[in-house]
């Protein structure tokens, strides 16, 4: 009893969520996967090019330049809306969001205000404490801004260096309702959203390079209270881990401030990953006055059923449906299904290997992909085993054909993986040797049969071929034979090992063991 009370007190001290309910909403900006910019035909493939080399009068905001809407960017947002089960109004419009800042030479950003391309969607995902469903407020389309680098020049003057390559890249903003309650839920939401966007080909959505920017609104309120507490916006979270850490930190910071009777400021705070803390970026005391008004340079957009049906028809299977199918139809565990679906390369490899040999048990193939493949892929370089963004293939769903999952060349050939699993299934090579073959194939892409032949790994399962080896070992090890006869059956393992050694691992251990047991009546 006493121990129990003590631990409860510790929990109360440890987690601010015992006393307060955290209220979290997420705003994501996502660069869409298009070949050209949102309102002009400048190429978006500028990763390795000099600053300002992908610009024109439209994305430089020169007077008199007129924007024209990129169809694929619109279709990416519509596909996202369909994937989120969101409403798509028949009629949408563009608005100017006015502000002065050097990242925006026109003095306004073309965005959408009261008539966004989609609203009221939903995204569901699993967390360590069950499934969570978050309401999506809206998803709209806008243009990205120029990149600024602040520095001090040689005269000691503070300056900003401006690169307009990013200016005008199509940007989708996705906003949730304040439905999230923990830092983990926020991270999981962001992960699931990224997976969805990658699956439909709308974005490469790398947090590390700013293709996906996650911002969180975090406030606390005592449990049972309906009114929201003071809201703080958290930015600069450049990885999923940062999302969870930053929000976790912010919850604790706010709880401590409220407990100490301090007044929280409504402000924007940045996350400092090295220090593991948030810091004040700017106060929201004076609210922004963007004076939105309809963009006169762009005609409105009307969506109709035929257009939406076309987009729907091109849409690949979505992550949630895929996980369900893997469990219900292929008999995978929920865990394996989640691991597979979380990695597009793994999903592709798994699917293609099963297609290459339809008779293979899905569970076995899944084990190879979630085990050896993901292990080696991680060692080989983080999560990206396909050629990264800018690798030439920017073929999204509107990009013509395909299933939206633009395929890079994974280091493992699905056909060879299928062959390897087949060899193991047929007892032609041992599981241990198969791993060796797989590693070699991963490194060199050589064919599985060629590797097996070269390394002499083909398993000997032929009883008559093994009997000779078994007889030799029986003769050479009278002590072990006596042990087995005396009832020490574990000595069979030793004898089997001798045969394995003699055949350089090629003997089928199960058969060898059976032969020994038969001979020795063990």
């Amino acid at each position: 009893m006493v121990a129990c009370e003590t631990s409860l007190m510790n929990v109360a001290e440890a987690s601010p969520l015992v006393k307060y309910e955290a209220v979290i909403g997420i705003e994501c900006h996502v660069q869409l996967r298009t070949a050209s910019k949102m309102f002009c035909p400048c190429s978006t493939d500028f990763q390795d090019d000099p600053p300002n080399s992908h610009t024109c009068p439209v994305c430089l905001g020169l007077p008199g330049a007129l924007p024209v809407i990129n169809r694929v960017a619109v279709e990416h947002v519509l596909a996202t809306a369909l994937a989120l089960g969101a409403e798509i109004p028949e009629y949408t419009r563009w608005d100017r969001k006015n502000y002065f800042y050097p990242d925006l030479p026109k003095g306004y950003q073309i965005s959408q205000y009261d008539l966004p391309l989609s609203a009221r969607g939903r995204l569901e995902f699993d967390t360590s404490d069950g499934q969570v469903s978050v309401a999506i407020t809206r998803a709209h389309l806008e243009e990205d801004t120029a990149r600024l680098v602040h520095e001090v020049d040689s005269n000691g003057k503070r300056v900003s260096r401006v690169d307009f390559n990013r200016s005008g890249v199509p940007l989708m903003e996705i906003v949730t309702e304040p439905d999230l309650r923990t830092a983990e839920q926020a991270r999981r939401y962001a992960e699931e959203l990224r997976m969805l966007l990658m699956t439909i080909g709308a974005s490469d959505a790398e947090l590390e390079n700013g293709q996906m920017r996650v911002e969180a609104n975090v406030s606390l309120r005592p449990w049972g209270q309906e009114a929201f507490g003071t809201r703080v916006e958290v930015k600069n979270m450049n990885s999923f881990r940062s999302v969870e850490r930053a929000i976790g930190f912010e919850i604790e910071r706010q709880a401590r401030a409220i407990d100490a009777g301090e007044r929280l400021l409504q402000e924007t705070r940045g996350w400092d990953d090295d220090r593991g803390a948030t810091y004040t970026m700017r106060s929201k005391e004076y609210s922004q006055d963007y004076r939105y008004f309809p963009e006169p340079d762009l005609p409105p957009l009307r969506t109709d059923d035929a257009w939406l049906e076309g987009i729907r028809a091109r849409m690949p299977e979505l992550p949630a449906a895929r996980r369900r199918r893997y469990v219900e139809e292929l008999g995978l565990s929920a865990y394996d299904a989640a691991v597979l679906v979380a990695d597009l390369d793994a999903t592709r490899l798994f699917e293609a290997a099963l297609t290459a040999d339809e008779a293979l048990p899905a569970k076995r193939v899944a084990n190879w992909v979630t085990g050896e493949y993901l292990r080696l892929a991680k060692v080989a370089g983080g999560e990206g085993t396909v050629p990264g963004p800018g690798g030439g293939d920017r073929n999204g769903i509107g990009g013509g054909g395909g299933d939206g999952e633009a395929a890079g060349q994974p280091p493992v050939s699905p056909r060879e993986l299928a062959r390897l699993v087949r060899l193991v299934e047929d007892g032609a090579i041992s599981g241990t040797n198969a791993k060796q073959v797989f590693e070699r194939h991963f490194a060199t892409r050589e064919g599985v049969d060629a590797i097996v032949a070269e390394l002499g790994l083909r398993q000997i399962s032929d009883v008559s071929a093994l009997e000779a080896a078994v007889d030799e070992v029986l003769e050479a090890n009278p002590a072990a034979v006596a042990d087995v006869r005396a009832g020490k059956t574990q000595a069979v393992g030793f004898l089997t090992g001798q045969v394995m050694k003699a055949t350089r691992g090629q003997a089928n251990a199960a058969i060898v063991q059976r032969l020994f047991r038969d001979r020795l009546g063990a």
Partner: protein, 92 residues
């Protein structure tokens, strides 16, 4: 009045502020007259050109040469524009 001037980054003298305040109030009065009309059954209009769905295909075209891009730069360093630092501005 000062707030509106600030949003447009206009530096106005006291005298200008007074004069423009009168003019602006006059404009607002005119809107008050317009607001008396019954517009219940008229949809809000943002555009008078009857065009919709003017879209371009997603095909990249050559951009401007860098020197042309930077020809109007107040100050440049290599390929980048250089401007005075503005900290705490708006922006995404």
């Amino acid at each position: 009045m000062e707030h509106v001037a600030y949003l447009a980054r206009l530096g106005l003298s006291e005298e200008e502020l007074t004069r423009l305040e009168g003019q602006l109030n006059h404009i607002l009065d005119q809107y008050r007259v317009l607001a008396e009309l019954d517009t219940e059954r008229i949809p809000p209009t943002a555009q008078t050109i009857e065009l919709e769905n003017i879209l371009r295909e997603d095909v990249p075209m050559p951009s401007l040469p860098s020197d042309e891009v930077l020809s109007n730069a107040p100050e440049r360093a290599g390929d980048v524009f250089v401007v005075p630092a503005i900290i705490g501005g708006a922006g995404e």
